[in-house]
Symmetry: C2
Subunit: 345 residues, 2 copies
């Protein structure tokens, strides 16, 4: 119960009646230690629950393995894990390990991880930043001060930093243009969660596409239904229950693929056929979009490339002995036409 004094190698040595060097030898499996001394020490280590501190062990060599980290916003969404895989590929090729952390869209959590990474000598970080209303970026400035290398996966106002991202506005515009070209006139956008920067950018892209066409935009075309599966599912049902069949849109541009899948599931359950009654377009092109039994038309982000590029820039920064100029890479997206959309007659 009482807060036991933190065990150290010295404490073990004292109790074993030997010197620290001997305990150290046991810890490092040197074969020079007398078996009986060895056993005694090993036993002491167990019973006193002594755990050598890693940082102290590696102080001499100065290093404990090259590794970089990535902070994603959500762990269980393939979009992010695929980016991480890309980062991992590049990192491996340069002898770095990759560790992953998730902020779960929580700004404090993101900050905690940036602290953790720099404290543990993770050499640099790729960060998918949580952008809140008044985006707190203190923690990024702190990294700056420590000269800690990082790459962002979205542009943040107020800080000049390396960024690797996609052109969200253009992505959604492409989707809308495709629909218009295929004679759709009643198009809506199911928007994402407010705490994601992508949400706003995608709404903007949707609006832009209208202003460049003969159609007129009105804000009822933006229906915020979130991206959580259950929530989007329920909101979709609610949306269609509240409308007459003749007022249904002919096409929906979804915030992302996870949402799109939930929407399609909801449509199935209220007996609306995709793409016969309504066309659906997703965003991201996660793996499951393709194998869904109505394969989803979607806008592909080059997830793997994003991860690779981010890792490349990061490791460049880590290894360069001199200052490296800031990079801002914007990847373009690609409209992948599958079975969830059709041309209107």
């Amino acid at each position: 119960m009482s807060k036991t004094k933190e065990m150290t190698i010295g404490e073990i040595a004292k109790r074993a009646g030997v010197s620290k060097a001997t305990v150290s030898a046991v810890l490092n499996e040197k074969r020079t230690v007398n078996p009986s001394t060895r056993e005694k020490i090993l036993h002491l280590i167990k019973t006193l629950n002594y755990r050598p501190k890693g940082f102290a062990r590696n102080m001499k060599t100065g290093d404990a393995g090259k590794c970089i980290g990535i902070i994603v916003k959500e762990l269980n969404y393939p979009f992010f894990t695929t980016i991480a895989e890309g980062a991992k590929e590049y990192a491996s090729s340069k002898g770095y390990s990759l560790i992953i952390a998730s902020s779960d869209y929580n700004h404090l959590s993101e900050e905690k991880f940036t602290n953790l990474f720099s404290a543990k000598d993770v050499r640099g970080a790729i960060i998918a930043p949580v952008v809140e209303g008044n985006s707190e970026i203190e923690h990024l400035f702190k990294l700056r001060k420590l000269n800690y290398p990082f790459v962002l996966l979205a542009d943040i106002k107020g800080i000049a930093a390396n960024v690797v991202e996609i052109d969200n506005k253009r992505a959604v515009k492409k989707a809308v243009e495709y629909l218009i070209k295929n004679e759709h006139r009643k198009i809506v956008h199911f928007a994402g969660p407010p705490e994601s920067a992508h949400t706003k950018e995608r709404i903007d892209g949707f609006r832009d596409a209208f202003s460049e066409s003969t159609l007129v935009f009105n804000k009822e075309m933006i229906i915020p239904i979130g991206s959580n599966t259950r929530v989007s599912y329920e909101n979709t049902i609610k949306y269609f229950k509240s409308k007459n069949r003749k007022d249904y849109p002919t096409a929906i541009v979804c915030f992302n693929d996870l949402q799109a899948l939930a929407v399609m599931t909801a449509l199935r359950d209220v007996n609306i056929k995709v793409p016969k009654d309504i066309s659906i377009i997703g965003n991201d092109d996660i793996h499951y979009a393709e194998i869904y039994s109505v394969p989803l038309t979607t806008i592909r982000s080059p997830q793997r490339e994003i991860g690779q590029k981010a890792a490349e820039i990061l490791i460049n920064n880590i290894e360069s002995p001199t200052l490296v100029p800031i990079e801002h890479i914007v990847y373009d997206t690609e409209l992948i036409i599958r079975k969830s959309t059709r041309r209107l007659d």
Copy 2:
């Protein structure tokens, strides 16, 4: 080009003509430093690309944030990320952060991460072990010697350790029994990748179910098609092309849900209807199984609970001042009946 001598606070201090203490003060944003000294130091830090070592900074306080790690076998499979989410939930409740690493089914990679974790004072690890032919468990013994706490997500012969797992044999048995009860007589198992311990256990469960029924097992019922989507897809097509329609099985028990989804996609493409022509059962119950347009009957593993429990045992071990007895938790699975299976007439 020439390997620059590793920068230290002392080096910066020397070049700035001040003492280490002053540089330290700048680094830690103390307000006691003369602005001009401060600027000079900051500038030097940038141009010399000096990065203070985290381990040295935290040596005094002894700690750099409580955190545990999990090593999964694959990052992009929801089964693992959901376990990680469970672990994260529990960890958070105890004030620990969670970091994730993926071994990608590679034993060396797993070993590298266990080293990394202990070197960086990640307080403990949850490990989904890669079990190869002659399972190398040296690295686990090394952790033992350092008294490093860990929990395994599968039992490994040759080492007594904390384990949280599911009863794979029983899981598959349930599936087969359910099919038999529903009049299926031609049942096969699409097996997983050889490097996964689950593969063998699930085959065993499949065989067991037969031996307890009136049906006879023969080894042609086991078709190894892997769990990678593309590979499983192609193997499925190949399998059915090589058979006459009358020799088709009436039901397939799949290795896991990802494979099952690939199999269903392949069946769609060769125009075999699920469940009319063939019933499909998956394994794991990942999120996408439910929203697939033919919702997948599957065997649910309590992924979140597995993660939570593993984290609980781990943190118990970390925090206990005394030796904690080893735990071995085996979770049961649940057959979730959806639309991909049917009773035979």
